[in-house]
Each structure stands twice: as structure tokens, then as C-alpha cells.
């Protein structure tokens, strides 16, 4: 019996040895074993060269699970709208974007949706989803992903797979472009820091804040959002006296509020606390530091009029950073046309802002998640037009994308040398309307913001963190250039 077992072990050992041999001896100077499975190239799944004659095989990366799972419909709809508007696509359903579309074509090149990736806000999962889209379904163009860490992972994937072309969705981390610098990864929107730009200038030079305390979620988006504000506020001469970082998912913020200076010790507070934490943190502030006086607070995109439902109208007066689009009070002909196009494309879509219940598509379209994926879709269409639908020369195609300047409903967007968006940031304020309700009113548009903040952030600097960036004065290109907005009309 033991002899038989030994024989069996021997058999397994021999096969293991063969495996080693097969793995080892295959490697030649070309660093390839020559097996079918040894293709790193995109489109390897069906053996067809990516970017060949068969047109655009598009994969969209969204999130159907996790904290942003509710935006899955929104983001797919964003890209679909761009293709419906400019490439003749027809959605397969009038009540959902997730059913896909058909008939998209630009300059004679068809655009086929091969799949929609389902992320869960983790980098591991999104890498597996993109591999499925590219390596199994043969996608050669990817639009997405949605959130910060995913963006870094996908940019890395793009760098390792130069045959694909990625238009980022709405992922807000800096590093995906600033540090990874994949030549085939393009971001036609801002990042978490950019969306806080101009706020410091406004608060210091207009509202007279000299000192500020910052409280932000202790993870990459919180750090990045706070970093943009700190860089901006310090650049114009302000001082950040306190930085507090509660862990993501905190429900009782009282101990973190206690670490903040009192309202009489500081001119104001900047909040980058997201999700359900925004309200919980502000409530803890009321309990620990006294009533809210809106004039003394500013927040990133997580500040919105709904906070007044629980906190009362004391929040009125707070300034709010931007997020890709502008609040609803700004209505230019371009914005109206964009929102009308969304309503014409579907009867309803169950977007996140309507609680995933059917609602007019323009509700979702006016928010940043939808819009980020829309800008990516427009970039895809315009880049194909720029090369006459021929993407066989990928270098020329990527060069054409880099040179694009998109004339979009919420402002012009071009790319910097790292292929990241130079965008206009809309700053707003929570104010009381005539009926005494808190509404969001646009106060200024800061044009031409890029992700380096005049050199604060560069490929050689660390990622935004608890201590970075330090508070330093420096010249920012957009200081003093903010365009005031009065009653929803940009002045100038």
C-alpha cells in the first residue's frame, strides 16, 4: 500500500517537474513561451488585434455594489447619452441604460458595447472586471472607473496594456494621471483636489478667513479633497491651524469634533466628510461646539441643501466646492440642451438621486457621476472624428485625444501633459430662498484649474495624506480669475 502511495507521489512529482520544465524552457530571448495563453495583448481573448478594422469594442466600468452602487445606472447612462447625442446610438430600453444601446457609429466606425463591468469600490474587483472586459470580451476602449482607488488600478492596467484606450469615468484620485502617467489613459474631468480649488481664494480674500480647521474622511478621497482646499487656502495666505481625520464609516463624531478648535478660535471650518457622515459630523458639531453659523463653514461636494432638513437653516451661508457640473440655478442654453437631450433619450431612468426609482433622466444628468461618464463618451466620439474613425495607428489616435478641447455644457475641458482635465470649477453657497428654504446657489466659476496647483502636487510629491500638503503660500494661476455668478448668470 505504501509503495503504491509512493508511486502516486512520484507520479505527481514528475508531473510537477514537467510543469516547471514547461514553464522554464519556454522562455526565450523574446521573453515569451509562445503558447496561445501567453498573450498579454488586449483582445487576446478572441485573438483579434485591438483597434483593428472591426471598430470600437467599448467596455464601461461602473459599480453595481458598494457605496456607489446606486450610481450604476447613472454612469452607464452618461456614456450612452453622449453616444446617443453624437454617434446615433439608440438605447435598447426607454427606462434603463443598463440594457445597452445599438447603432452607434462615428466616421464610419461602429461602436459596440461589449460589456458593463461591475465594481464594488475595491481596486481588486475593478481589475478583475476590466480584465474580463478586455481579455475575455475583447474590449479595446474602456470608459470608467468611478472611484478613486479604482482609477489608480485601471490606470496601471492601461499602462501594462498599451493596446487599449481608457477614458476615465469620474474617479477622483490625483495619482491616476499625475503619478501613473499611462499614455493611453485620459481623464476629461477634474479630481478631488481640483473640485476644492478657488474656495480658499474666495474665503480668504472675500470672506476674510485667515485661519481654518479642516476635518476630512481618513481615506484617499477625503485626503485629496482636503488637500485641494489646503493648497488653495494656504496659497493665498491663509493658515490651516488644525487637521482632523475621522475614519471612514464613523457614526459618533464627538471625539473628533472635540479635537477641533472652538468657533471663537478660528475663522472657519472646512468639511470633507462624506456619505451619511456629513450630517452626523455636523450634528456632533452642534452638540459639541454650539449652533451652526453657516458663514463659518465650507464643505466639498457633500454639502447640499438636504442637510437643512436635519440641521435647520443655520447651515445657510456655507460655501460648497464643485463637482464636475454646476448647481441647477445656472441655466445656459448649452445646459438646457444637454438636459433636454437626456430627457429625450429615455422616458425615465432609475438614477441614484431619485433613490433608484424611475425619474426624468435630467435629474441624474445634472449630477457629476452621470456627467463624468458623459464627458468620456463625448471625448470618444470627438477623438474618433479627429482621426476619421481610424484607430489602427494607436499613437496617432492617442495624440489626437490629447489634443482635444471639448466644448461641453458645463464648460470647456482640455487635457494637461499628464492627460488629466483642465476644467472650470463651480463654487456655490447654501442660501435661503424667498420661501425660507435652503437652496444651493452658484457664486463663482473658477476657470482653467489643473491638478498641479501651481506645483504643490507633482509626480515627485507624496499622495495627499494627513500631513501633505503643508501649508505654504504660492502663486496659483486661477487666483483672482474667478467669474462671479449672479442669479445663475455668469458675469463676463
Amino acid at each position: 500500500m505504501s509503495r503504491q502511495r509512493r508511486r502516486a507521489s512520484l507520479a505527481l512529482s514528475v508531473t510537477a517537474g514537467l510543469a516547471l520544465l514547461a514553464a522554464g524552457c519556454g522562455g526565450g530571448d523574446d521573453d515569451s513561451t509562445g503558447l496561445p495563453a501567453d498573450q498579454e495583448s488586449a483582445g487576446g481573448g478572441d485573438g483579434s488585434p485591438a483597434g483593428g478594422d472591426e471598430g470600437i469594442r467599448l467596455g464601461i466600468l461602473g459599480q453595481c455594489e458598494g457605496p456607489f452602487g446606486g450610481f450604476h445606472e447613472d454612469v452607464v447612462a452618461g456614456t450612452t447619452l453622449a453616444l446617443a447625442q453624437f454617434a446615433g446610438a439608440t438605447p435598447n430600453s426607454s427606462t434603463s441604460a443598463l440594457e445597452g444601446f445599438s447603432g452607434a457609429e462615428v466616421a464610419g466606425t461602429p461602436i459596440e458595447l461589449v460589456g458593463i463591468g461591475c465594481g464594488d469600490d475595491t481596486a481588486d474587483r475593478i481589475v478583475q472586471e476590466v480584465r474580463r472586459l478586455v481579455e475575455q470580451l475583447g474590449a479595446n476602449v474602456i470608459i470608467g472607473p468611478l472611484s478613486g482607488d479604482e482609477g489608480i488600478a485601471i490606470a496601471e492596467y492601461a499602462k501594462a496594456n498599451p493596446e487599449i484606450t481608457v477614458f476615465a469615468g469620474i474617479s477622483g484620485s490625483q495619482e491616476q494621471t499625475l503619478q501613473v502617467q499611462a499614455p493611453n489613459y485620459f481623464r476629461f474631468y477634474g479630481d478631488g483636489a481640483i473640485w476644492s480649488a478657488g474656495l480658499g481664494d474666495l474665503l480668504h480674500n472675500q470672506e476674510g478667513w485667515d485661519t481654518v480647521a479642516v476635518i476630512a474622511d481618513d481615506y484617499s478621497f477625503g485626503h485629496t479633497s482636503a488637500a485641494g482646499f489646503i493648497a488653495d487656502f494656504c496659497a493665498v495666505g491663509g493658515d490651516v491651524v488644525s487637521r482632523v481625520f475621522p475614519p471612514l464609516g464613523t457614526t459618533d463624531y464627538s471625539s473628533y469634533i472635540a479635537q477641533l478648535p472652538n468657533p471663537d478660535e478660528v475663522d472657519g471650518y472646512f468639511w470633507a466628510v462624506g456619505g451619511t457622515g456629513t450630517q452626523a459630523a455636523l450634528e456632533a458639531f452642534v452638540n459639541g461646539k454650539g449652533d451652526l453659523t453657516g458663514d463659518q463653514h465650507a464643505g466639498n461636494l457633500f454639502f447640499n441643501p438636504n442637510l437643512a432638513q436635519a440641521l435647520g437653516t443655520g447651515i445657510a451661508g456655507a460655501y460648497v466646492g464643485g463637482f464636475a457640473t454646476l448647481p441647477g440655478d445656472v441655466q445656459t442654453p448649452e445646459i438646457e440642451e444637454y438636459l433636454a437631450a437626456a430627457d429625450a433619450t429615455w422616458e425615465t431612468i432609475p438614477g441614484s438621486l431619485s433613490g433608484n426609482e424611475p425619474a426624468p433622466p435630467s435629474v441624474a444628468a445634472a449630477f457629476g457621476f452621470f456627467y463624468g461618464y458623459y464627458t468620456a463618451g463625448v471625448a470618444l466620439v470627438e477623438s474618433l472624428e479627429a482621426v476619421g474613425g481610424d484607430i489602427s495607428d494607436l499613437d496617432a489616435y492617442h495624440a489626437a485625444i490629447s489634443d482635444l478641447t471639448l466644448d461641453l455644457p458645463y464648460g470647456e475641458i482640455s487635457l494637461d501633459e499628464n492627460r488629466s482635465g483642465i476644467v472650470d470649477v463651480g463654487l456655490s453657497r447654501l442660501v435661503l430662498d424667498d420661501a425660507g428654504d435652503v437652496v444651493q446657489e452658484t457664486v463663482a466659476i473658477v476657470p482653467g484649474v489643473d491638478q498641479t496647483f501651481g506645483g504643490t502636487f507633482s509626480p515627485d510629491t507624496p499622495s495627499p495624506g494627513r500631513d501633505f500638503p503643508a501649508c505654504e503660500e504660492r502663486d496659483l494661476p486661477w487666483v483672482g480669475n474667478a467669474i462671479p455668478v449672479v442669479d445663475g448668470v455668469p458675469q463676463g
Binding site: M1, Q4, R5, R7, A8, S9, A11, L12, S13, T15, A16, L18, A19, L20, A22, A23, G26, G27, D31, T33, L35, P36, A37, D38, Q39, E40, G44, G45, D46, C64, E65, G69, C118, D121, T122, A123, D124, V127, Q128, R131, R132, E135, Q136, G148, D149, I152, A153, E156, Y157, A160, Q179, V180, Y219, S220, H223, P247, T461, P462, S463, G465
Partner: protein, 336 residues
């Protein structure tokens, strides 16, 4: 004779399977080999350490994914050079491999020594605590984990082409399988099984029960660390969410699906898990009955539930019983 037939049949079938897997890259698509099968081998290797501890040591561990993660993080910290994330030690990749394995094994020594005096549900709880603490260590000490994870992790040049990673996974899987099987009949393995069955009697016979448990835990940690290295090479990145409670439970579920009492079940469970996550959505009409990507965990849950009810020994238990039943049926048929 039946016993003898099974003894020779099973290893030969496994050897045939290994041979088939060696030839697979010439037969299957790149995606199937480099994605589905490579992931299967990596997860299977990690899950096999759970099976090993459970089957031979009577310890159901939830700390194996932590070991997997420690190795990945340590390799990332040691091998990366420059950039914004991690320690950026910039070592030679194989030095980084050594470093990752040493740190993982040392962590297993410490954690195993502490856990070695507990059994059953207490061991499970304690290793769950390890997993949770480990997650928070990497989530909070951002110097060694990012912040937000370590990205751009490159494979050593030797494993450059993706198919070699598959072969590395296959080789390590075969070695782990053969090694664990062989260990069972060594003095240490026999003592370990004695410890599993009756620790009090083993202690009274003079065996150092905690030491045996610790050594088994260290060995399992070492192998899980190897799987963790393969994983960061395959995935190119690792972040604290990679070792959070969700993936930790998934690894246990993989072991349960395959059959927590059989080593080969670890790879079988991993295969089923990867198949569900990769191909379920391609089935026609599957989304019409509400099984969208967001509900894959529900499907996995239903599979686990069905297996627990129908065959506590997992899929390998079902597979083992099938031929026997068929034979019995045939015998019954001829008799009748």
C-alpha cells in the same frame, strides 16, 4: 480490492489532471488560462491551507487571508522603488520575495503561538480577530499600505509572461498538495492528527500540543504567503480592502464549497467560485431572473447553503459518493 482500486485510481486521476493542466495553455484561450485558472490556483492554494489546518489539526482558521495579505504587502513595500506609495525599499524582486516570506512566517509564528492554546469555536474567533486586526493595521498604518493600497507591483522577470504565472501557481499547488499529503504520514503529521483527535491524551503521552499546533499554523501561513505573492503578481496591486472581512470569509467559503475535509476540494471550490463570478452573467436570461452581478454573492451563498445541507463534505464529497452509488446501483440491478 475495492480499496486497492481506489488507492491507485485517485492519484492516477490527479496525475492525469495535472498533466491536463500542464497542457491547458495550448488548448484553452488566454483569458481562461491567465484569468480563470490562474486565479483558481491562487485561491485554491490559499484555501488549501485552511483545509490542511482543519483536516489534520482540527483548527478552522480565518487568518489565512491575512497571511496571504501580509506577504503581498511586504513584497510590494520591498520591491517597489520610488512613487508615492509604501516604503519603497527598492530591493531586488527575489530579495523582496524572501523578505515577504520571512515576515509572513514570523507573523504566523507569533499568531500561531498565541492561538495554539485554543480550539474549536475559540480558535475560529481568535483567528477572525487576527483577520480584523490585520485589516485595521494595514488600513491605519498607511506607511506600509499606501495610503489606499500598494499599486504598480511588478512580477520578477522570470515570471514575466502571464502564462508563467499560471505554471508557477500550478507548480506551487502541486507541491503544496503533495507536501500536505506526505506530511500526514510523517511523525509530525501523525502527532498532529493525534492532537486533533484527543489533545488531552496526546499531552499525557508527552507530546507538546501547543507546539504542534503552532508549527502547523506556521506551515499553513508560509504556504498562504506563497499564494499571496502569486496574487500580487497576478493582480499588480493590493490594498487593505483585499484582506477585509468579506474576502476573508470568501476564502473559508471556497474551502467549504470544495469540502473542508479534502485538500483537492480547496482548488475545486476555488474553481467553482471563479466560474460563478466570471461566467454566470454570460448565461442567457440569467439577468432576467434577477441574478445580476450585484447578486453573485447571493448565488455563492445559495451554493454554500445547498452544499452544507446536501453534502457537508462539499463538492468532493458529492464527487466521491457518486461513483460508489452508481456501482451499488449496478450491482443491485444485476442482482435483481
Amino acid at each position: 480490492m475495492n480499496l486497492r482500486a481506489r488507492l491507485t485510481g485517485e492519484p492516477l486521476a490527479l496525475a492525469g489532471l495535472v498533466l491536463f493542466l500542464i497542457l491547458l495553455p495550448s488548448l484553452a484561450t488566454a483569458f481562461f488560462v491567465n484569468f480563470v485558472m490562474t486565479q483558481t490556483l491562487i485561491l485554491g492554494l490559499a484555501a488549501a491551507t485552511i483545509v490542511f489546518l482543519s483536516r489534520y489539526g482540527g483548527m478552522t482558521s480565518l487568518a489565512q487571508l491575512l497571511m496571504f495579505g501580509i506577504a503581498g504587502f511586504m513584497f510590494g513595500n520591498a520591491a517597489l522603488d520610488g512613487g508615492a506609495r509604501g516604503l519603497n525599499l527598492g530591493w531586488h524582486p527575489w530579495a523582496a520575495v524572501g523578505f515577504a516570506i520571512v515576515v509572513t512566517t514570523l507573523a504566523a509564528v507569533v499568531l500561531g503561538a498565541i492561538a495554539s492554546r485554543t480550539t474549536g469555536i475559540y480558535f475560529l474567533m481568535l483567528t477572525l480577530v487576527y483577520g480584523v486586526i490585520g485589516y485595521f493595521v494595514f488600513a491605519q498604518i498607511v506607511e506600509i499600505s499606501g495610503p489606499g493600497g500598494i499599486t504598480s507591483i511588478q512580477r520578477p522577470d522570470l515570471l514575466g509572461p502571464p502564462v508563467r504565472l499560471y505554471y508557477a501557481g500550478l507548480l506551487l499547488s502541486v507541491l503544496a498538495y503533495v507536501g500536505f499529503r506526505a506530511l500526514r504520514r510523517t511523525a509530525f503529521g501523525l502527532a498532529l492528527q493525534g492532537v486533533r483527535d484527543d489533545p488531552v491524551r496526546m499531552a499525557s503521552l508527552g507530546f507538546n500540543v501547543p507546539l504542534h499546533r503552532t508549527l502547523a499554523f506556521v506551515l499553513a501561513g508560509f504556504v498562504a504567503g506563497l499564494a499571496g505573492l502569486l496574487n500580487v503578481w497576478w493582480n499588480g496591486q493590493i490594498d487593505p480592502a483585499s484582506i477585509s472581512i468579506g474576502p476573508t470569509l470568501i476564502l473559508l467559503i471556497i474551502a467549504v464549497i470544495g469540502g473542508i475535509s479534502s485538500l483537492e476540494g480547496a482548488w475545486l471550490g476555488a474553481f467553482v467560485y471563479v466560474l460563478v463570478f466570471t461566467y454566470l452573467r454570460d448565461l442567457p436570461l440569467v439577468d432576467r431572473i434577477g441574478i445580476t452581478e450585484a447578486r453573485f454573492n447571493t448565488v455563492i451563498g445559495v451554493i454554500v447553503l445547498a452544499i452544507m445541507v446536501l453534502s457537508p463534505e462539499g463538492l468532493t464529497g458529492i464527487a466521491r459518493r457518486l461513483p460508489v452509488r452508481t456501482i451499488r446501483k449496478e450491482l443491485g440491478g444485476t442482482r435483481a
